[in-house]
Assembly symmetry: D5
Homo-oligomer: 127 residues x 10
């Protein structure tokens, strides 16, 4: 099962706002309908709260392990995307956060799911 206990955070290093983006090109889960594996890219983009407000950042290795916990999970594209957003929002309570999943094709159709949290700046929306 997706294992949110893997996720760890560390204190953000600055009070000045900045934006962090992590792109995983090695995400895989399993289609709950067919049992065949799905492969995709997962983009996480967020602005941590400031250090003085107790802001934290997700630790990179823990993020990798968390993503790996989906490996044998039967779960739809839409649910993957919403789960990752919810788990990371709960961990970090960031100013804003985006999850974008890009899936290789099934039946000649490739898909992208975008889920936001909070007030994503306009220049990041739709990207």
């Amino acid at each position: 099962m997706p294992d949110r206990s893997q996720l760890e955070a560390f204190q953000t290093p600055s009070d000045t706002p900045f934006v962090i983006e992590h792109v995983s090109e090695e995400f895989t889960s399993v289609c709950p309908k067919t049992g065949h594996p799905d492969f995709g890219h997962v983009t996480l983009r967020y602005q941590p709260r400031s250090a003085s407000a107790g802001g934290v950042c997700v630790e990179l290795k823990s993020l990798k392990l968390y993503y790996q916990s989906f490996r044998n999970e039967g779960i739809y594209y839409e649910a993957v995307t919403n789960s990752i957003r919810d788990d990371l929002v709960q961990l970090m309570n960031p100013e804003w956060l985006q999850i974008i999943t890009d899936w290789k094709g099934r039946g000649g159709i490739r898909s992208t799911i975008r889920a936001d949290h909070g007030d994503v700046p306009p220049h990041f929306r739709g990207r």
Copy 2:
């Protein structure tokens, strides 16, 4: 004939707004004037209504079969684009929806048709 009865929907998994995009690179229909086949890509992008408002998403395999039903249909670029938009709007009644069709060249000219429904956010318009 394009067969909208192929289309099936499932309940959207979340009340938080998110955006779904499906790109089919294997669309073909027939030019009603010359009888020669047309080949194109079809991009569907939409935001479902929230789960609590009865929002639904189009099921991916049913979408593939619906697209395949155009295979031997004599129909113009513009009509393909408008038909797909209308059928999917009728199925899902989404917050907003876009259809973009990109057609390989005829006579040295390649074409793109864009049709929207509802209030498409500015960062998705013209893409």
Copy 3:
């Protein structure tokens, strides 16, 4: 001479606004100064008026023949772009229309000319 009589239109299929784009990658005319041929791409993008308002679309084959009528015409980049815009506006009276011409290099310099008609939406400007 550029032959606007080649251009034909057909009734737009919908009252819902949509946008049509045709890209010709096989445009050629002649430089009036040197007599050498110029080669370029011509992009036409427009929104027809609604069907109930008598809106029309340019017919694709007639557009090809119209472009071919520039083949042996001695005419500058800027004049090509303005002529095409004016002829197509006269034909279709669209909501808005854009012409973008991209020219292969002369003397190590390649050029792009953009001419608009009406209220082109912001997401199409400068593209």
Copy 4:
């Protein structure tokens, strides 16, 4: 059914050997097992016999119509490739001939089939 009667030939224009290549990027047939459409590219490469030896070339439009006759045919990748090779060899009796079919993915696997006739020069083999 694939319709070899569509194929027409014309006399080759030269006694000097030369090589002709036609790449169709709009080939489609149907999977006999699943009934779903397959999409691929078909490359034909050959050297006609010399004019004085009665050499002929396949006519381009007839080749297009021949390829279109596979549109609703249930046929495997391997059989498509062998059929096209055999039909074109029978039509032209060329010095040598190659058929290469590149198929978009099924189940995450994309495929290429290569079939030769006669003594294909080493620099064309495996391409």
Copy 5:
């Protein structure tokens, strides 16, 4: 465990030699040392024996299932490559066969392993 019993073959359709290539872009196994997943592409290229000599081809869906059976296997790059070659040679006894595995990076180093069986033609070697 890698499950060679998944593999099925069908009779080759021709006595004329031809070459088949299948590229899987969705291969994953597990590093036996670290337990982290590895991701790669697997290319299979081979020439079946002729039909009259009892030649067979690997069935595409069975190949996909066979590759999927490595999903949770702890196994090194080199062993993956040699195992696939040996299992497919045992299944098909082809004229010749190549396996090429391309692995995404570990520690900033990406790797390719090539294993051949029989007399691979020179134009396919090293590709």
Copy 6:
């Protein structure tokens, strides 16, 4: 020395606003510090004043000769960019104008300088 006397203009062909872009990929000057040559691309983008307001366009061959006059000039990136902007503004008095210079690397660092004149539309800024 950069030779602004090379620059010539011609009357703009239209009262309708349009935008002209010229990209030179063959610009070279000399670093005043090291004496080594610098190589870059120069993009000029502008909207001429309307014909009835006496608007003019820079003539393309004269622009090429003007750029060539920098060939043996010892001059910094920033000064090149500001000089070209000032000389072209003086020549044409356009509605607005942009100069963007892209320089190949020195010491592993590549640079881009952007200088504007007048009210550049938002969709061209930062491009």
Copy 7:
């Protein structure tokens, strides 16, 4: 008509063998069947005879004018390729010579024609 009198040659500068390649990306002629323009790239590759053997090279501007003389000529792909080869062989009597023409698509099929003269080295064949 294609005008071979445009072609001029100059004495080759060296007795040491070397190879010259000119690629024109702005070739156009007319299809004799449909009257529509064809667009293509023409590659010329050759080794001049040595200077002491009276070897000559084609002058670049004369080559451009010669290619331009096909602009309004109704002529098939195969005949264009053979004509250019024959005219340039007659002009230069080179050690060897290749003409490769690449044509943009007609009816979804793009074509390449290759014609050689003399003993083209193996590493240039098929390229």
Copy 8:
């Protein structure tokens, strides 16, 4: 240690606002956790204060040496980005400034960190 004393500035050449961008593709530091080297690209983008307001620009060679001073520094992505921003803001006191660092992958995840100072124009945000 990162050595801000390496940084030198020179007077900006103009009172007209302009924008300077330097991209270093050869940045390396050391992961403080694992001791392994990190590799990335560093983009600096800023608008100097006007010359009459005492505006200065960072000198390019000094910037290179400053970046090189991180070579054996154990420091996290986020701290690199914030340090560079702070050191350059202190040096130049610019109108606005952006630092974007793009890092090659660790554990299959690649990262981008963006840190701004002052009022970065909207067309540069998120790029």
Copy 9:
């Protein structure tokens, strides 16, 4: 100093010949003349001796650490390439081995050095 003691080997898994390629995109050393860092890619390609002949393969993590030992070494391109070849040949005594180093530019010139050991098959030479 380059530290060959980092290198470790393991027994090759097969008696059937196969070829291994490792590409490091994160190699850096220091120019002994200027003291500035050099950045490059290092490709290692080799065929181990057979298992029954005591053949061994270089262990991937040890290879990474060995490459990292060049980080602060003042050493020329040519010497880097020859050193790596010699150290790996001494470690593995392979059938054949290739080292290819690709270096980012210095003074506008980028370089590639190729060093072989033993009888490299023709299809790998010059690649």
Copy 10:
């Protein structure tokens, strides 16, 4: 004038054969006919004689200065290529050597000149 006195050599570091390649992307000279600048890439590839046979390598900075000495020289493509080959052969007396010059277009035609010295291995010919 091209200044061969700029060229310096250093002793080759090894008796084992190896191959060196330097690609300059910043070469410019002047067309003797029109006076306009030409821009190109120059590739040098060679195998030095062995150290024990007195083999030498061209020093990289001296090569850069030598190339820069063509900057204001009126000289044809073919003569540039032959001059560079002859000067470098005289400097190094290598086992073999290749010069390849790639020139940006003039009149819509781009050119490549290849000149060899000695017995260039087949896998480098024609590249």
